[in-house]
Amino acid sequence: MIQTLLEPKYLLTILLMGTIVYITYLTKRNASASDFFVGGRSFGWFTNGSAIGGDYLSAATFLGLAGLTFQLGYDGAYYTFCFSIGLTLLAIFVAGPLRRFGAYTVADFLAYRFHSQRARLTAVVVVLAISGFYAAPQLLGAAQILSMFFGTSYEFGIIFTCTLMVFYVGVGGMKGTTLNQALELWIRLAAFVAMTVIAIYIGLHYNQILANISDFKGTIANTAQYTTDGKDVVADGDSWSGTGNYFPTFWQTISMTIGLSLGTIGLPHLLLRFYTNPSAKAARRSALMAIGIASVFFLFAVYLGAVGRAIFIKGEASSQVMSDLITGGNNMVVPSTAQALGGDWLLGLVIAGAFAAIFSNLSGLFIASSGALAHDVYATVLKKNITQKQRVVAGKVAIVILGVLYGALGLLVKDASIGHLVALAFTVAASTFTPIFILGIWWRGMTEKGAIAGLLIGLGVSMYMIFFKDTLPTFLQFNVPGIITVPIGFLSVYIVSKLDRKVPGDVNEFMKKVHSKESEIA
């Protein structure tokens, strides 16, 4: 037993869990709603920048992007590129003004921009939809990783992860969540840096491995014993280096680019993070730091996917590595490459990093959704005038409810595609909150009816185009229908606002508040 626990993968994962529990314990005191939902707005740019990076770089990015590059080649690299765009747009148009506005939740923005509880409740529905679509694939990934490395059942994986999340977010609130997210980001980055340094040290230079992969055409040695048909795996370097493996047409590529790049602006758990900075200046610097980290991370992810491919086509790795690369699916590419490069200790660091990615992203979703339920629905609509302490209790109860709901959702999506669910979350976000925040911050003419119409139409159209894709004509069938749904979202807000014309009487004060340099200095 002790021998097993001393194996690097167990040891490093237990160390991570122990650190999470310790940080959560240290930050358990949440006296006010501000402490619980926005960490007392006390985080500097470094901590919050790290936490934003931790929130954004989920398990799907930590394990999935290198895996996609390994499998699809250039199209996997292009998919990664699409993820790298959104944070920059968020930093340019939304981060600073959103912090100057200052609130607890995403729905607060609409409620105060339009003085409307209807707008608040509509936003809550969209927050819960996006967070649910995003949480389900994270839980799916968590259960798969637990099963792959520790041999647990899918159901155990879901229940274990949800229980840990309820403790982690429920006890620590935004303070514990932020510090844990920051720590978890650096664990992941350390794993990628270690892998990259070793790969370069042993001579796997980028230009050289790309040449080896591109020039390779034929069967890969020592693979027949792991395939179901008993034949060696066939690889075509030309196809791997070109486009068309994942994006079948030019317009599918453009639609994916629009959906993923603009979706980031509308992700509630990312938007919420900008409320935790003490000032708009710190919010912008946090965003800049997160972009820097994410850029390095994406650069490494694509390189490591190519490294994994180069090791694979050579056919000389250990039988365990070759077997995992063939039978383990995309999520096994980073762990298998780590094992090939640095043995059990590097594999252990990658497994700890994978859990760090899941916990980090899920905790952000839990805190964003708990704010929507406890603050937007309970404390603002159902039971007004409750004390600060009661608000914190409501937040904790909401986290337990979400743990049960997300757990049920996780059990339902056992056979779903992680990529499909993540794409759904990004499409809904790009078609709902992205138009609302960009127009709400920069255009006085946006009205309450315009905002509600934009949210509902954007949500409805994007869900229909993904869930009922087969009922649409072929030219409208997109994997990520951003090219259709995002313009519809923007146009719905614009046209309904133009027809309505009734703006809040204090919209000028609102604009002054979110843009003025005075409020920045204050």
């Binding site: 920059t88 340019i92 509880q117 200046k281 820097g292």
Partner: protein
């Protein structure tokens, strides 16, 4: 009003007015918004020209864009997986730098104004 967001705020409904009856924004906020939006838009347009040029060249000039420049590194791979990452940070850095420069200038002007007011008094 939304501008005074405090921990124990009160929700205050506001009247609605027709957009044509809305007074113009005060000149200072209007100027700040124009400056900020202008800078952001220029950077975004430049960024999106770069972003969209990659799939356009991939699909309409593949012989050139998938040709090798360094070992197995093609133009396409280089711009998609290396230049794009540097540019994402570069654009955000320029934006933050220009914003902080404007803020510093504003703080400087503000300090001079209050200094002048103190001298008059």
């Amino acid at each position: 009003m939304a501008s005074e967001f405090k921990d124990d705020y009160e929700y205050v409904p506001a009247e609605k007015v027709d957009i044509k009856d809305l007074p113009p924004l005060d000149p200072e906020t209007s100027k700040i918004m124009k400056q900020e939006f202008g800078t952001g838009s220029k950077l975004t347009i430049f960024y999106y020209i770069f972003i969209l040029s990659i799939p356009i060249l991939n699909w309409y000039a593949p012989e050139f864009f998938f040709s090798r420049i360094w070992g197995g590194m093609t133009y396409s791979w280089f711009f998609t997986s290396i230049v794009a990452m540097v540019l994402a940070f570069g654009i955000a850095y320029i934006h933050t730098y220009l914003y902080e420069k404007r803020l510093k200038k504003y703080e400087g002007e503000n300090n001079t104004d209050s200094q002048e007011r103190r001298n008059v008094n």
